[in-house]
């Protein structure tokens, strides 16, 4: 009994110690106020096989291991606190999802799949595990465009993966992905971060991407018995191995990191680039960057965070989900118009001009977000295919540069947000094989789909461009029939594509219907912000209020592997506005100049009459006064 009490007390004290440690600020957690860049000349530490802090790395070590950011950077910065930041907390179910953002997109032309995934609770996205993707598989697929952490650090629950995770290690937060100012930081190039992740060299990825180390070999090739802490040669295979540049270490075996607190924009661009495939501006040199960057700002001037890395995303009403003192003044409105509840004037931060909006009726500010007129590509009669870093692996090796490559992201789509305001969006039409139970459609695991749909679609020629294969109703019928015979699938097999749900009726005939699960996934466009002189409405109201204006009547491509289903919808169908009303309202602008002319003319007549009789009154008064004299 005494022993039990003693044990409990020990645990209690230990927990207190952990709590105290967590609360304790480290050297780099709080600034002393100096705006100068601190010099990061620091020792490197690796993580040992127990997941604890290892020894200091020296170039003379018998076995060179990759430095661990958790233990190297974590010497002065609270890794645990940083890990709760927006870029790393997607897998935490307690984190408020906030406004829907760009999902990860699993695209596979061979199975007719293009599905938005996210660990966040964004309506319209699916959890990776619903498609049979473990966090580890997810990391291998998409970790290339993450700064580590999140799914990459989850302990695997799959017994088959435990040994593989021991070999590859966890994908720690890679502080250098964002904060390394050295041009040698290699995110997407040969042997860089993306390559290391594709090779499952998670433990080596951060080190392998920095300028003073290089990694060879692949954890994927290693047998399950391989121990990276006591490596033995593997026949015909190269185990993951790191080498540090000789001159990287000083006499005290410390290494200089060229760290910037304010992340340079080109680091953000690695994961946040967009390419709008407009015929005129499909090349980088022919399109302009965001006007804020050109004005001298960087991304982190607006998207700020403290040590907790809870970065401001910069949308309206973000203050309801994020406790950041600057959140209210860091949105478009916050910077340009200020916070009306603030005790001191905050408009015009960072030199933001306070917009006048001459001639724009105030109702526009109730019905539209700032980005509706100021962000994204200028709307044209047909939406553009759009590439993003994360969806299309931009900036990594062997990228398919074809315009038609999957996934097909469509933009700009002017759609109504849940807050009732119209804003430009990127759009993805989900396409996947699922099972229907009640009204819910659950995606079928990709492995099963590959074994069924993959075989049927494999008969078709896959375009080299990476586009969809040309599927027909017969293909869909054949695959659905095959899936129906799969006992592992609970519910009715269906195919979702192009906004429709395809299923087989009782006579095994293919039928289609509109369905909630087939609705497109949209996420708002924040950038690039165009200059005021290129905003919608700058020329005249008919930029939007014309009977053929793309804002209301542009064509939104309906994307589908089924050739017969490829069509277009009108933009207005996404805005919750009656098309006939919008058309009639737009048509009324034809008469707007006449109305102005008539009203001004009438005013002139009215003013003339008033003036005339006012003068007559004056004459009467003058006459009366004259008679007095």
């Amino acid at each position: 009994m005494l022993l039990l009490c003693f044990s409990a007390a020990t645990v209690c004290f230990a927990n207190e110690a952990v709590g105290a440690n967590a609360d304790q600020k480290k050297l780099g957690d709080e600034s002393d106020g100096s705006r100068a860049h601190p010099t990061h000349l620091i020792p490197l530490f690796y993580e040992n096989d127990n997941g604890e802090k290892g020894e200091k790395i020296t170039p003379d070590d018998e076995l060179l291991l990759p430095f661990s950011t958790r233990w190297t950077c974590g010497e002065c910065h609270s890794y645990g606190i940083i890990g709760k930041g927006w870029h790393f907390n997607a897998t935490d179910p307690n984190v408020a999802p906030g406004r829907p953002g760009q999902p990860w997109i699993l695209a596979d032309a061979r199975t007719g799949t293009q599905i938005p995934l996210s660990y966040r609770r964004w309506p319209g996205t699916f959890k990776p595990e619903q498609l049979g993707l473990t966090p580890r598989a997810f990391t291998k697929l998409f970790g290339r465009h993450t700064p580590g952490g999140g799914a990459g650090e989850l302990e695997t629950e799959d017994p088959d993966e435990i040994m593989r995770q021991f070999i590859s290690g966890k994908l720690e937060i890679n502080c250098l992905s964002c904060h390394n100012a050295h041009p040698g930081q290699n995110q997407g190039g040969m042997g860089g971060y993306a390559v290391q992740i594709a090779r499952e060299n998670f433990r080596w990825a951060a080190a392998g991407a920095c300028e003073f180390a290089s990694v060879s070999g692949s954890a994927t090739d290693m047998p399950e018995t391989y121990d990276p802490f006591m490596p033995e040669p593997v026949r015909d295979k190269i185990p993951p191995t790191i080498s540090y540049r000789e001159d990287a270490f000083d006499r005290e075996n410390q290494v200089f990191f060229d760290i910037l607190r304010e992340v340079p924009a080109h680091r953000c661009y690695f994961c946040h680039s967009n390419l709008y495939l407009d015929k005129k501006h499909a090349e980088k040199w022919s399109s302009d960057e965001d006007v804020h960057l050109k004005a001298g700002l960087t991304c982190v001037d607006c998207h700020r965070n403290g040590i907790d890395h809870k970065i401001i995303r910069g949308y309206e009403s973000e203050d309801t989900v994020l406790r950041n003192p600057l959140v209210a003044t860091s949105s478009c409105e916050g910077c340009h118009l200020g916070d009306k509840y603030s005790s001191s004037p905050v408009a015009g931060r960072l030199g933001a001009p306070v917009p006048e909006h001459p001639g724009i009726p105030p109702v526009h500010f109730e019905k539209l977000t700032c980005t509706a007129c100021h962000s994204g590509p200028w709307p044209s009669q047909k939406t553009h295919l759009t590439k993003t870093s994360r969806a299309h692996r931009l900036g990594t090796l062997n990228v398919n540069k074809s315009h038609d490559v999957l996934p097909h992201i469509i933009s700009p789509v002017f759609a109504k947000q849940p807050n009732g305001k119209i804003t430009p969006h990127k759009l993805l039409w989900p396409a996947f094989w699922g099972s229907l139970k009640g009204q819910d459609v659950t995606p079928i695991a990709l492995e099963i789909v590959r074994q069924t749909a993959g075989k049927v679609i494999a008969k078709e020629k896959l375009p080299l461009s990476g586009n969809w294969p040309a599927l027909t109703a017969e293909h869909i019928t054949e695959v659905l029939t095959l899936l129906s015979s799969q006992k592992s699938i609970k519910g009715e097999p269906v195919y979702i594509s192009g906004g429709k749900l395809y299923s087989l009726d009782d006579s095994a005939k293919l039928c289609e219907e509109e369905h909630q699960s087939a609705k497109p996934y949209l996420w708002p466009i924040g950038h690039n912000v165009r200059p005021a002189a290129q905003s919608l409405g700058v020329r005249y109201c008919t930029d939007c209020h014309a009977t053929d204006a793309p804002f209301f009547f542009g064509d939104v491509t309906v994307d589908s592997p089924i050739v017969a289903a490829r069509e277009a919808k009108k933009m207005i169908e996404f805005q919750g506005i009656s098309p006939s009303y919008a058309w009639a309202f737009a048509f009324s602008f034809v008469f707007r100049p006449f109305m102005k002319f008539i009203c001004l003319g009438s005013c002139a007549v009215l003013a003339g009459v008033l003036l005339l009789y006012a003068l007559k009154l004056l004459a009467c008064v003058a006459k009366a006064l004259t008679e007095r004299d």
Binding site: G359, C599, L610
Partner: protein
């Protein structure tokens, strides 16, 4: 705020008109009420005896009344009944009839101004004051009693006067001249001017009807 002010203003105006009917009842109206109503209804038609200008004047007046009713309903229904800004098809109807109303007002101003100019006889008390101040005998006719058209004249000139800010406030906001703050100010000006304008038109119409009933 505007909703409350509008409701109160309309209630007070209609209340005053009822009070006026009670305090100063139109005896002629109650003698042959049905005949009077028929007579009132026939006023909507164009009399054959009218000259072409008279016909134009009447047509324009009737058209202006129709436009006013449509503009008042489309303008005040959403604000007073629904408690929201005018939008959708109501805006389009409102904007369609507004220029017609403006033209009618301009024509009526030209055609009625002379008839509605103030004479000394409209203001006997004023005339007496002027005489006392200037020590000049009246050049015009000595009015024996207060003119019955005074109210109509005042409301007419108020209508003409209020029409200017009413029209200009909304038309100027359509030009790229004023920023958001001024746009909001112009909209408020339009809103409150429209309220006063509507009340004046209602009073004017009441006085016209009362005069016609007494004929």
């Amino acid at each position: 705020m505007f909703q409350t002010i509008s409701i109160v203003a309309f209630a007070v105006t209609f209340g005053c008109m009822v009070l006026n009917c009670v305090i100063s009842p139109c005896k002629e109206c109650w003698r042959h009420p049905l005949r009077k109503l028929v007579h009132l209804f026939t006023l909507l038609f164009i009399e054959q005896k009218l000259s072409p200008v008279g016909v134009l004047r009447k047509v324009v007046y009737l058209l202006a009344m129709l436009c006013f009713v449509i503009l008042a309903v489309t303008g005040f229904y959403p604000t007073i009944i629904l408690g929201e800004h005018i939008s959708g098809y109501l805006v389009m109807v409102h904007a369609t009839f507004a220029p017609i109303f403006a033209i009618c007002l301009a024509i009526l101003a030209v055609m009625w101004a002379r008839r509605c100019r103030f004479a000394y006889s409209d203001w006997p008390w004023f005339q007496r004051t002027v005489q006392r101040v200037t020590l000049v005998k009246s050049a015009g006719e000595q009015a024996q009693c207060e003119s019955s058209g005074l109210g109509q004249k005042i409301t007419f000139w108020l209508i003409i006067f209020l029409a200017l800010p009413l029209i200009l406030s909304i038309i100027l906001s359509m030009f790229p001249l004023f920023g958001t703050h001024w746009q909001e100010l112009l909209l408020s000006t339009h809103r409150y001017t429209a309220l006063v304008f509507a009340l004046v038109v209602i009073v004017h119409t009441y006085l016209v009807i009362r005069t016609k009933m007494q004929e």
